[in-house]
Each structure stands twice: as C-alpha cells, then as structure tokens.
C-alpha cells in the first residue's frame, strides 16, 4: 500500500508548494518538474529498450510550436489536445520508418530529426508565413503551468509503473537485452517499440506545450535546443534509466546544479555539462540507484562472510 500512498502524499504536498515560495522559487519548481517529466518520459521508451533517443528536443519543440501557432485560434484545452495528437502522429511516422535502426544509427537519426524539424519549421516560417518568431499569449498563470506539469509528470511516472508490471513492459525489457530472442519468443517487435515510442513522444510533446507560455516569444532556435535532448538523457542515466524513480532522482539535483552554474558561471557552464556527462557514463553507467544496490549487496556480502 505504501507504494501508492507515499507518492500520493508527496504529490499532494508538491501541489501546495507554490503557496510557500517566491516568484523565482516557483520558476525553479516549474523547471524541476519539467525536467523530471522530460527525463521520465524519455526513459519510458529509451530506458527499457536501450534505444537512446536524442529526439527529445524535436517533440518538445513541436509541442511548444503547436501552442505558438494554435493559441489564438483554439481554446487552451484543445490546443494541448492538438499538440499531443501532432506529437503522436509525428512519432508514429518517425517510428515506423526508423525503429528498425539499431544502436548508434538510431542515436544519430534521432539527433538529426530534431535538426530536421527545426529547419523545416524555419523554412516554412520564412518562406510561407514570412515571420520567424511567434508570441504566445495564453491566459495561464505560472501556478497553472506548474500544476499542469506536475499532473503530466505524475501521469508519466504512474504510466511507467503500470507498464513495468504489464506485458508491454516485459516486452520492452526483453527487446533491450536481445531483439532476436524477443522476436523468437513471440514478441511483436514493431508494435511494442512503436507503442512505447509514441507514448513517450506524446509526453515530451505535451511537456513542450505546457511550458511554452513561459517563453512568451518562441522561435525555432529557442525551442528546438539540443541541450534539452542531452539533459533528458543525462538526467535519466544519472538516476537509472530503467528504474521507475531513476529519471526523477537524476533530474532534480542536475536541474538545480545547472541552474546554479548558469547563474554563477554563465560562460563556462557548458564545460561542466560536458564533464558531468563523462563522469556519469564512467562512474555510474547504470545510474545512482543501481550503484546503491551494488554497494548494499557488497556490504551484505561482507556481513555474512
């Protein structure tokens, strides 16, 4: 029962938090929850299957741009719905054509996808609409954004928890270990990967859509920022990409650390980003949670011997 109760209590407490923090604090909270959602949403597909996607920024950017384009034409709820649908359709098309690629080919393709979408939108805006930037005026407060993102993040973790216990989660883990075994055991590879990829993409797109009013002004270079893709990966890896709480655990300290670094070392902070990337991969390749498990197993082994 504690499995459900503790997270629900934490969620309730987090929902009341905006009443106790400053405007700046609320901004930090939104950032933290956004990256918890991005890292968890990324891990929903990539954490289990080991298909390392660098397309997070592509979906995040499409979400933000969907709001920028539609926010004057449709009510806000419908705008979010449309953004989610656009993300799903894009993931379906991309997934059908590329989930056959394995290893580094998929990584490179996914990275290229973000760039491709950004260039396409830039081309369209310059040549068809004749304007590059767009303004987002939506009647939503910072608190509103926080609550929406909190709900999306909670839904993402709940969905991950459910999937880990369901057939789809089992299929994804087998795919992550050995696709040939998966196929010969009766797993429909294409379907399992596509379902997870689309779910993950919808979450990432919605995260971009929900957070977009914070930008007020968007243009492709702002919302299709590859750093978003890299951060989602490194956060999930730091905590443990195949664990339920791993991505969240990695996202909170890293977001706060980057926030602090970007304030105090605005010019040199990408260097820290790079160092951290290397450090995580070298020291904790399976994430903090797996590292703790290993330490625990070791001390247990010492105790009995």
């Amino acid at each position: 029962m504690t499995r459900f109760i503790l997270p629900l209590i934490a969620l309730g407490a987090l929902a009341f938090l905006p009443g106790f923090v400053s405007e700046y604090g609320l901004g930090l909270l939104i950032g933290v929850v956004t990256y918890v959602t991005l890292a968890s949403g990324w891990a929903l597909f990539s954490g289990q299957t080991h298909y390392i996607s660098l397309a997070t920024a592509a979906f995040y950017g499409v979400g933000a741009y969907s709001v920028a384009v539609l926010n004057e034409a449709l009510p806000y709820g419908l705008v979010l719905l449309c953004a989610g649908l656009i993300g799903a359709v894009m993931a379906l098309i991309v997934g059908l054509s590329t989930l056959r690629l394995q290893g580094v080919y998929f990584v490179i393709f996914s990275f290229g996808l973000a760039e491709l979408v950004r260039q396409l939108i830039t081309w369209y805006e310059v040549n068809v609409t004749g304007t590059l930037g767009r303004y987002i005026f939506v009647d939503v407060t910072a608190r509103g954004i926080y609550w929406q993102m909190l709900a999306l993040g909670a839904a993402t973790i709940a969905l991950t928890a459910w999937m880990q216990r369901a057939r789809i989660g089992m299929a994804l883990r087998v795919i992550g270990d050995d696709e040939a075994v998966a196929a010969h055991s009766g797993i429909n590879l294409a379907r399992a990967k596509l379902v997870a990829f689309v779910l993950s993409a919808v979450i990432l797109t919605l995260a971009g859509a929900i957070t977009s009013p914070r930008y007020v002004y968007v243009e492709p270079a702002i919302v299709f920022n590859p750093t978003v893709s890299f951060l989602a990966v490194i956060m999930a890896l730091l905590g443990g990409a195949n664990r339920l709480w791993g991505p969240a655990l990695g996202a909170v300290p890293l977001f706060l650390a980057f926030e602090w670094l970007s304030i105090h070392f605005p010019d040199t902070y990408p260097i820290f980003l790079g160092l951290l990337f290397i450090g995580v991969v070298f020291i904790l390749p399976d994430g903090v949670l797996a590292g703790i498990d290993k330490l625990r197993a070791r001390s247990k082994g010492k105790g009995t011997s």
Binding site: R167, R173, V174, G176, D178, V181, H184, S185, G186, I187
Partner: protein
Amino acid sequence: MSFLKIQNAVKQFGGLRAVDDVTFSLQRGETVGLLGPNGSGKTTLINLVSGALPATSGVVSLDGLRLTGLRRDKIARAGVARTFQLVRILPSLTLTENVKIAAVFGRNAHWGTAADQVAQDALAKVGLLDRAKLPASELTYIDQKRLELARALAAEPDVLLLDEWLAGLNPTELAEGVALIRQLQGGGLTILMVEHIIDAVRALCPRVVVMNSGKLIADGPTDGVLSDPAVVAAYLGEETDA
C-alpha cells in the same frame, strides 16, 4: 502425414546458395538429426524454418500452415521454438524472467501465476529451479544452454529446433544433455536438431538428414545414412583412386 514440411527451400546469399532446393519433412513426435560439415547450410535452414531469414524460394509449413513469409514472432506463436548456435540469454533478467517471456508471449499467452508456473516447470525440467531468482548473467556456459532450452520449452511448442545445443559440453555435461533431450521425446514434441556429435545423434535420432554445400545428400535411418559412402565422403573428403 507429415507435420513439419520443408519443400524446395532455397536461400541465396549473393552468389552463394547456402540452402539449395532442400526438401524433407518430419512426422509429429519425430526427432530428426540434421547433419553436415561446417558451412553446409544447416543453421541457415534452421533460420528459414524459424523465420530468422526470409527464404529466397520454397515453402516451410507446419501442420498445413504456411510459415514461410511469416514474421519471427508469428512463427514462434504457431508453435516453433528454437535455441541458438551461439547461446543467447537475457543477461539483465533473472532466470525466471528469461523463461517466463516465452510463456507470456508464446502461443498460450499465459499471465500472472499461470506464467510463473509454466516458467517454474520449464526450469525444473532442466534442473535450474534452485537458481530461479539469480540474474542470468551469473550462469556458466552449460547452465546458459539449459536456460535457453527451458525458455524454448516454456513456449509449449510443437516443434523444437536445436542448433548445436550439445556443442561445447564436456563428457559429463553431454551425458546430462542427452538425457535431458531424451526426456522431451515421446511427449509429442517434434525435434529437429543440428548436431555434430555423432554419439549423441545415434543416441537420440532414429533418423537423420545430411546436407552438404547447401544440398540434401541423404535422408534415412541413422545407421544406414552414417555408413552411406556419399555422407562419409562429405565429411572426410572424396576418396581418389591413384
């Protein structure tokens, strides 16, 4: 009435005909050895049956159902299970999970306690039940092979394809392995096994088929085929008169 039917199977890799117009069939419940020197196309043929490779031409069918052209997972769910020449286990999963997946995603789509039960039974059959909770990466080579067999059995298949499942075992392990396969016979399971160890073939297979350079060169009772001059020549090279 033949159960697993391979008709005029051809697999072409560029200029190489790895499987060249091979035709034979297995009765339900039969165990047949698939022999041949290295590179004769045995594993390729297994791959055509299990769907790992698409056939260039020809038809494989199981009890009237055409397997050729089906996806690997569909062939698996039709009742064909296999092991791999180079052992393939799932290192990050436990033994139970390694085996359970075949029960969950196989033809009977077990779930929950039923799937656990099938996995347990399969692990018990190969003698790994006491280590069910270990990660598969901690197993020795022979135990990895057992695990692979347990996974194949958990699919509750009609046809079992064993690709050199006995290779690389020491004499004691080999005796255990042979005993294990013998246990599986007689339960209606149809077994096609690629094997190089002649003693094991004699012990397990009443009938063998032999391939050489992609072609089927013999098909019949084991003793007769193994003394067939064409088969001996394929293994030892042609005798030339001086």
